[in-house]
């Protein structure tokens, strides 16, 4: 703790996971997240853990499913097409109440797309992604510092509520270098208590089962509804967001991840010109900071959502704000990072429109 390091985002996330107690990693190469398995391949054995380069993303997530069932902290990471393949296993982990942790370093899509940073996987991340009724706890870092520090929080939330947890980053964050500090003491996995559902040696106790099915009528519904109670608790207690200069703002920018960094630049320029602008950054994308946005909606003229997708989070913003203020969208999908200047221009359009119609919808 306290030591300043200079790291690449992907390396920081891998190191953050190891310091948080991760002792098993399985993954498959895909750009722009290759530094994560590369880092884990030497770092985990050094920490007494195990690394497997799996034959596919499907295998990797199932290795994680097995490892997580033994109660240890484990991780996998991938980028968009690979995460699509992992969805089967993520759904099974959700159904089996296993606390798995994974990261999506998003690239441009759909399909093979490109390898630049993008935010097109928002729906897939916050709406479930795999089959069935489930939710994933989703954290969106906007800096290398957060890349390094979010894995621990993901483990803690995942274990507390027995849900899948993920870091939703993007290619830019994964590849950029910045100073960071790990703001927590290293976790020694030996000090963690083995959960009372973990598989392993059954000596002296009844055998345990981990699985996601119940064929008897109505039982699965009960299981799912009980899980829903945990989801409600997460929505009530685990929301994280950052709000900057929203107090007197007429227009509030809403963005997450690297897009929020670009908005930060635009915010500075706008304020320097005396424009009343604020920035609201959801840090947890699920649970989404609904009530906080709802409260802002009655005060501001309008919102300007900046997304590196065709506009996915904008739907959540509209739902959260109950259409009480116009919601504008500045969309740069499939691998383009917006600049501060172009966002500033959109801010001015929004200010001009006031409480009136929606203006920008690229």
């Amino acid at each position: 703790m306290g030591e300043k390091l200079l790291m690449k985002g992907n390396d920081a996330m891998a190191e953050g996971a190891v310091r948080a107690g991760c002792r098993f990693f399985a993954g498959y190469p895909i750009t722009p997240q290759n530094e994560v398995p590369e880092y884990m391949s030497w770092r985990l054995p050094q920490a007494g853990g195990s690394f497997v380069q799996a034959e596919s993303e499907v295998a990797a997530i199932n290795m994680l499913y097995g490892a997580a069932a033994t109660g240890i902290r484990c991780m996998t990471s991938s980028s968009s097409p690979g995460i699509s393949l992992k969805q089967e296993g993520i759904s099974y982990a959700a159904g089996a109440d296993l606390p798995i942790f994974f990261a999506n370093v998003v690239r441009g899509g759909p399909g093979l797309g490109n390898i630049a940073g993008a935010q097109g996987d928002y729906f897939q991340s916050v709406r479930g992604g795999g089959h069935g009724d489930y939710r994933t706890f989703v954290m969106a870092p906007d800096s290398v510092e957060e890349m390094g520090n979010f894995p621990l929080h993901c483990y803690e939330v995942a274990e507390k509520y027995r849900v899948p947890a993920m870091v939703l980053a993007d290619g830019v964050l994964g590849q950029m270098m910045e100073p960071l500090e790990f703001r927590f003491p290293q976790v020694d996995p030996k000090t963690l208590q083995s959960p009372d559902w973990a598989l392993g040696e059954c000596k002296g106790r009844k055998n345990r089962l981990v699985g996601s099915y119940d064929l008897s009528e109505g039982k699965l519904e009960v299981m799912t509804l009980n899980r829903g109670k945990r989801y409600a608790e997460i929505e009530a207690k685990e929301v994280m967001f950052e709000s900057r200069q929203c107090e007197d703002a007429q227009v509030v920018l809403i963005a997450y991840g690297i897009a929020a960094r670009a908005c930060g630049a635009a915010l500075k320029m706008a304020r320097a010109e005396g424009l009343k602008v604020g920035l609201f950054r959801p840090i947890t994308l699920w649970p989404f900071p609904k009530s906080q946005l709802r409260a802002l909606a009655d005060r501001v003229d309008s919102f300007l959502v900046v997304e590196m997708s065709m506009g996915q989070m904008v739907d959540d913003v509209r739902l959260a704000t109950e259409f009480r203020a116009p919601v504008h969208l500045h969309a740069r999908p499939s691998g383009v990072t917006p600049t501060g200047e172009e966002i500033l221009k959109r801010i001015k359009d929004a200010l001009k429109a006031g409480k009136g119609e929606r203006v920008c919808c690229k």
Partner: protein, 254 residues
């Protein structure tokens, strides 16, 4: 009174759901007896498949996990690497292992993962109602090849032991059968040996068991045994396909 036989401790006292004449129940018992005899029940973790043995997690008296169709070997890998002291087995049907999970099967063997696979080859998809399996014989009827498997249309049956034997990471591979009492005893020996190899840290072991599915073949249990004898054995010869007694597993956990 002299008790000559009893339920293995590694098998729970619950009613199994298998059809009359099904091979799964027999193989469950063999696996359980092997666990008892090797004294490994209390440190064994089993992976139940998707397929007729989906409820295996409710039958074995050890920790069990149920995973997606075909992914057993990957799940077993994650468990073994996290708990190297545990004995980990994956129980799979032919659709599970040789179709959807072929990739996981080949690669866990290729890595020399120190796990054991019990592979039930009944030449058909049982649970979903008798569709063609990768192991369905040429000419054999199934609901998705109602005129009989035609290699021009459906390709050829896959011999898994032979395939895995080419991989340096596989250490013990044997094909057995349960269509007669004598063969059941041989199958039991093979299963025990496969677990023994894992206990000794030798690496990947798999026992293929030719089995019966009277329900989906639409024949009596006795005729199903005859089918194994007359039709399956020529295509799937019994025997040891790999045995590296001196080997050591390539990989270890933490």
């Amino acid at each position: 009174m002299l008790q000559v036989n009893k339920r293995p401790e590694s098998l729970l006292d619950v009613k199994m759901h298998y059809c009359p004449g099904c091979g799964h129940g027999i193989v469950h018992r063999l696996v359980a007896e092997a666990m008892d005899e090797l004294g490994i029940r209390e440190r064994t973790v089993g992976v139940a498949p998707v397929g007729c043995a989906v409820f295996a997690d409710h039958y074995f008296n050890c920790d069990m996990i149920q995973g997606p169709h075909g992914r057993g070997p990957a799940i077993a890998t994650g468990i073994k690497r996290s708990k190297p002291g545990c004995i980990v087995f994956s129980y799979q049907g032919d659709g599970d292992l040789a179709s959807i999970g072929m990739c996981e099967t080949v690669h866990s063997a290729g890595r020399g993962e120190n796990i054991t696979i019990i592979f039930i080859n009944n030449a058909i998809y049982g649970m979903t109602g008798g569709q063609m399996a990768p192991t369905t014989l040429i000419g054999q009827k199934a609901t998705t090849c109602p005129m009989g498997r035609d290699p021009q249309v459906n390709g050829y049956p896959i011999r898994v032991c032979e395939l895995l034997a080419t991989l340096d990471g596989s250490r013990y591979l044997e094909r057995t059968s349960i269509h007669t009492a004598a063969h059941v005893i041989k199958a039991k020996k093979a299963i025990k040996k496969a677990f023994q190899y894992q206990v000794e840290g030798k690496g990947f072991s798999m026992v293929e068991v030719l089995s019966t599915c009277p329900t989906n073949m639409g024949i009596s249990p006795l005729d199903a045994c005859k089918f194994v004898q007359e039709k399956m054995l020529p295509m799937y010869p019994l025997g040891v396909y790999k045995d590296v007694p001196g080997g050591k597993a390539n990989v270890s956990g933490n």
